[in-house]
């Protein structure tokens, strides 16, 4: 076990806290020191909440002193800056919300607070969660801890980089088209996008409401299960949250995957895919087979339509969701315009960054009179076909295994001015959101010291099946235990 407290997993930290070998204040200070040490290089954080963290840590230590401890009590975390935190500014990495201080906590923050979270800060992201590299943050880009000239992925790039860099023990992210899994893959951490409806989105700033979902980014699958145990579940304040009961997600972590049926979707091994990534995933598949899983190939022909479907549906929904930023009730307001309309136009022109404006325009176009049927309605129909194809695959297979991304992390600046190339970075993760399925990315190797992620996908509410296989793989390998040299 490592002696760097900030590098502990949740379950390791919990054991030490329980045995009084470390206090929550010590753990928290270790993370805060690490933040001081590496943040100028990594840039994973928008706001550090040192005072709040130490206060929460002292409270946690008091609770632990009375024997009141659950798995997350006193463990330092970082929350993606798209989830509302009462009294702590929530910026969405946008100039529009630079000074927005929410009067309430998101449901997930409420739940984590009840479970004894210590929040060390808010994580950087692509503005309003739109992007695949965290270069679209209005404040600063985040750098990949494995290679500082590379992107950490996005949009939860700050959350993923912070876990990899040991700035927090676990983080929350949100995933609309791959925004948890793709950065988890790029930073060699474990990231779960739960089923649509599994986690309440009350207090999550909306991007694309039929796709958004909150999930954990952690150092291993056990930690992922522990966070899910707290954040999953129905919430009457989110009418899309599912009333399904929440299992104890640690119960499925048996290490035994004998007889489980794994499908390999051939369309995910796309043209233009980096050969090292394909090789690494093929090796993983062989390992899973050696562990007793039954592997077969499956075809999902509509995969090639997912990119278009996504980039119609997500911007359309975003254009409606982001209509609320008009400089009236909260957020940025442009000063010095002549009229009400002019104030609104200029507020949105100067408050939003380039990618957000691009997507608002795209969505507005797709929803505008004369184009609705050709774009939005068509995309929704193809969405049905994509979902049906997955449903059929899950009649035969328990899970699908595929790469998380077709490449290793790319260079900062490489794709930032080429939206179509940037959108292709999510080609393996988008279909999962379109169909509302759960998916995880776990570390699966390296190419030239750059991380490769493997994705495991299953049917709605089968998070346990995913976690079981991912956990068994981590029992047999040590990719997830490697740390970047920073």
């Amino acid at each position: 076990m490592t002696t760097d407290y900030n590098q502990l997993t949740i379950h390791e930290a919990n054991k030490l806290l329980k045995d009084r070998q470390v206090s929550s204040v010590e753990l928290t200070k270790a993370c805060l020191e690490r933040i001081q040490q590496v943040e100028s290089k990594v840039g994973a954080i928008v706001t550090v909440t040192e005072e709040l963290a130490l206060e929460q840590a002292r409270k946690a230590d008091e609770l632990i002193g009375t024997g009141d401890i659950n798995p997350l009590t006193g463990v330092p975390a970082l929350i993606k800056d798209v989830m509302c935190t009462r009294g702590v500014r929530t910026t969405c990495s946008s100039k529009m919300l630079e000074n927005f201080v929410p009067p309430y906590d998101a449901a997930v923050v409420e739940k984590l607070n009840e479970a004894g979270m210590v929040m060390v800060g808010k994580a950087n992201m692509d503005e309003f969660a739109m992007g695949s590299s965290t270069e679209h943050s209005a404040f600063h880009p985040t750098h990949n801890p494995w290679n500082l000239s590379r992107v950490p992925g996005g949009s939860s790039g700050g959350s993923a980089a912070a876990v990899a860099a040991g700035e927090a023990i676990y983080t929350l992210g949100s995933d609309t088209g791959g925004s948890i899994r793709q950065p988890a893959g790029f930073c060699s951490v474990t990231g779960l996008k739960p089923t649509y409806g599994r986690v309440s989105r009350y207090g999550l700033v909306a991007f694309a409401s039929s796709l958004d979902q909150i999930g954990p980014l952690t150092q291993d699958v056990t930690d992922c299960a522990l966070v899910m145990n707290v954040i999953a579940g129905h919430d009457s304040r989110d009418s899309t949250s599912a009333p399904q009961p929440v299992p104890d997600y640690t119960q499925c972590l048996t290490g035994d995957i004998k007889g489980m049926k794994i499908g390999i979707p051939k369309e995910y091994f796309v043209e233009g895919m980096q050969p090292e990534v394909e090789t690494a995933i093929r090796v993983v598949i062989e390992q899973l087979q050696d562990m007793g899983a039954k592997v077969g190939e499956v075809s999902l022909p509509h995969t090639r339509h997912a990119l278009a479907v996504y980039y119609i549906i997500a911007p359309s929904e975003a254009s409606a969701n982001l209509a609320r930023y008009d400089g009236t009730k909260y957020g940025f307001r442009y000063q010095g315009a002549d009229t009400m309309w002019d104030t609104m136009d200029k507020t949105r022109q100067h408050g939003f960054g380039a990618e957000v404006k691009r997507r608002i325009m795209l969505g507005t176009y797709a929803l505008s009179a004369g184009y609705y049927d050709a774009y939005y309605l068509k995309a929704q129909k193809v969405r049905t076909l994509i979902r049906r194809e997955f449903d059929e695959a899950f009649e035969k297979y328990d899970v699908l295994v595929a790469p998380t991304s077709p490449t290793v992390p790319f260079e900062i600046g490489e794709k930032v001015d080429d939206p179509v190339q940037m959108y292709l970075a999510d080609v393996c993760t988008l279909p999962v959101n379109i169909a509302g399925l759960p998916g995880i990315s776990i570390p699966a190797g390296f190419a030239d010291n750059l991380p490769i992620g493997m994705q495991i996908i299953s049917k709605p509410f089968a998070e346990e099946t995913i976690l079981k296989i991912a956990h068994a793989y981590q029992q047999a390998t040590d990719w997830h235990m490697r740390k970047p040299a920073l």
Partner: protein
Amino acid sequence: MKLSREEVLHIAQLARLGVSDEDVERAREQLSNILENFEILQSVDTDDIPPTAQSLVLQNVLREDESCDSFPRKDILANAPQEDEDSFRVRAVLE
């Protein structure tokens, strides 16, 4: 086919998004490139396929109509770009 200048200006107006001349030119280029990538959907046969608006099977989620506390006025106004006593201050709507 590249979007016309007028089309881009129309979209920007619908979205209430101020744009510079440079923005318009960039949008013509980039939006057109992106829209080209959407053409692929036109070849998919979707006759008799119902649209999916969201992936949950939930419908008509109802709850009791119970009153509850709303946020204190001062908490909400704390984020206002401009306030005036108990209200948001905005530009004149009718000129």
